[in-house]
């Protein structure tokens, strides 16, 4: 497992994107392109997952869903405690940040899939359904933590309710459950499962064959975006940057335990669970936090999720968790 393991095109394109911004190139993607690529990737992974899950074992699927939900609820609480330790980060920002770590980054997940495929390592497909499940719980936990924090702040300040946001639970739960990426991923999975295999065959050149190339383009763009975010490190401060590296390590280790021990996946599947746990959402969760925790500073959570944790996972986390999973399962 040497350097060449990360010399896969997807990761190299990510590095190219970072490099381009580090040397201050004027390389730029047109508006809308990265949103379009991300729609494509969600659909493609959904179709693939759906087609394979149609033949899945129900018991294991349910078990996966259960543990995914547990991870989604548990990780944000761990993150919150870390951030609130010695009152380092205020309650609102802590709640908003931690919600991102309970959810997942589809980009990181797909890079891990590309890593496995390039190395010829097989993996279970249950992690795809786990990815769908994990989108939502973290949002709910984040909002709950913020609601509790708001109450405490009010008690402390002895202020009335007048100017505090009465949490619009209904609309926020709705937002969490009908989030664009959840709908797309789940919808594509259902279509992949119910459409006739012959009909799906005609969609494959689009959804499967050009997939890796589109992923490269997407990661090139994300690399540039990540590098751009790194400039905000100073504003965000050392504590948060450290959190953005420590938290995925904790998450990854818990993920390995869940994948290998509780779900008894192979090394490939275990890596994917580790990545689900280690990665931080930068697509589904930020909008929900904008809506639900307006008091938090968006540049904190976007910088962390995109500028710290994402590059950490892509460049270090994937090979690291793979090695650990390999060693742990081989014990």
């Amino acid at each position: 497992m040497g350097l060449d393991a990360i010399l896969i095109p997807a990761i190299l394109f990510f590095a190219l994107g970072v490099f381009a911004k580090v040397i201050k190139s004027d390389l730029k993607f047109p508006e809308g392109l990265s949103k379009g690529l991300s729609l494509y990737l969600l659909i493609a992974i959904g179709l693939k997952g759906g087609a394979e899950l149609a033949n899945a074992e129900l018991g294991l699927a349910i078990k996966s869903i259960f543990w995914a939900a547990v991870l989604g609820f548990l990780l944000p609480i761990i993150g919150y405690m870390l951030l609130r330790f010695r009152d380092r980060i205020d309650r609102m920002n802590a709640a908003a940040i931690t919600a991102h770590y309970g959810s997942v980054s589809a980009g990181t997940f797909l890079t891990a899939v590309a890593f496995l495929e390039a190395s010829g390592i097989s993996h279970e497909t249950y992690p795809i359904i786990m990815m769908v499940v994990m989108e939502t719980p973290a949002i709910i936990i984040g909002l709950l933590l913020a609601a509790m924090a708001r109450r405490q702040i009010q008690l402390a300040e002895n202020t009335g309710d007048a100017e505090s946001p009465s949490v619009p639970w209904k609309s926020l739960l709705h937002e969490a459950l009908t989030n664009g990426s959840v709908v797309l991923l789940l919808g594509a999975m259902v279509i992949g499962a119910v459409a006739s295999p012959e009909a799906m065959q005609k969609v494959y050149p689009f959804s499967h064959e050009i997939f890796m190339g589109v992923l490269c383009l997407f990661l090139l763009d994300l690399g540039m975006e990540a590098a751009r975010r790194m400039k905000s490190f100073k504003k965000v401060g050392g504590t948060l940057v450290a959190f953005g590296i420590v938290m995925p390590i904790i998450g990854g280790l818990i993920g390995i335990f869940v994948g290998a021990t509780l779900l008894e996946f192979s090394v490939g599947g275990t890596l994917l669970v580790a990545i689900l746990a280690a990665s931080a959402s930068y697509i589904a969760v930020p909008p929900a936090m904008r809506m639900g925790i307006p008091e938090a500073n968006p540049s904190y959570y976007l910088t962390l999720a995109l500028g710290v944790t994402f590059p950490f996972n892509v460049l270090i986390g994937i090979p690291l968790f793979y090695s650990i999973a390999n060693w742990y399962i081989g014990l």
């Binding site: 975010r229 930020p286 936090m289 904008r290 307006p294």
Partner: protein, 100 residues
């Protein structure tokens, strides 16, 4: 046939698009314009890559009554912590049907 009205502009996160539209509807505004913009400010760089870091700019031409109503409603949200960058310009509306 022209008339003087206020052109309100509201710059906020893309993710609050529906929230602002709901406020418009609530105060009876049926005509408005919007488009997506990039920007920088207190909430960091909004580079337009994801929904969460895109900005939307609303332009809405209102008469005095609507102006009071809509700015009051928006201000409520600002007090809750929502980032709305709001300002208004004095405009002369030329389209007759918009001067009723």
């Amino acid at each position: 046939m022209s008339c003087n009205q206020k052109l309100m502009q509201i710059i906020t996160s893309n993710t609050l698009e529906d929230r602002v539209k709901k406020i418009f509807r609530k105060v009876g505004i049926t005509g408005f314009t919007f488009f997506y913009v990039s920007g920088e400010g207190d909430s960091g760089v909004q580079s337009g890559h994801f929904d969460a870091d895109s900005n939307i700019l609303f332009m809405v031409m209102v008469n005095e009554d609507q102006y009071g109503l809509v700015s009051d409603e928006l201000m409520k949200d600002v007090k809750k912590g929502y980032h709305y960058f709001m300002f208004s310009l004095n405009a002369e509306v030329l389209t007759p049907s918009k001067c009723k």
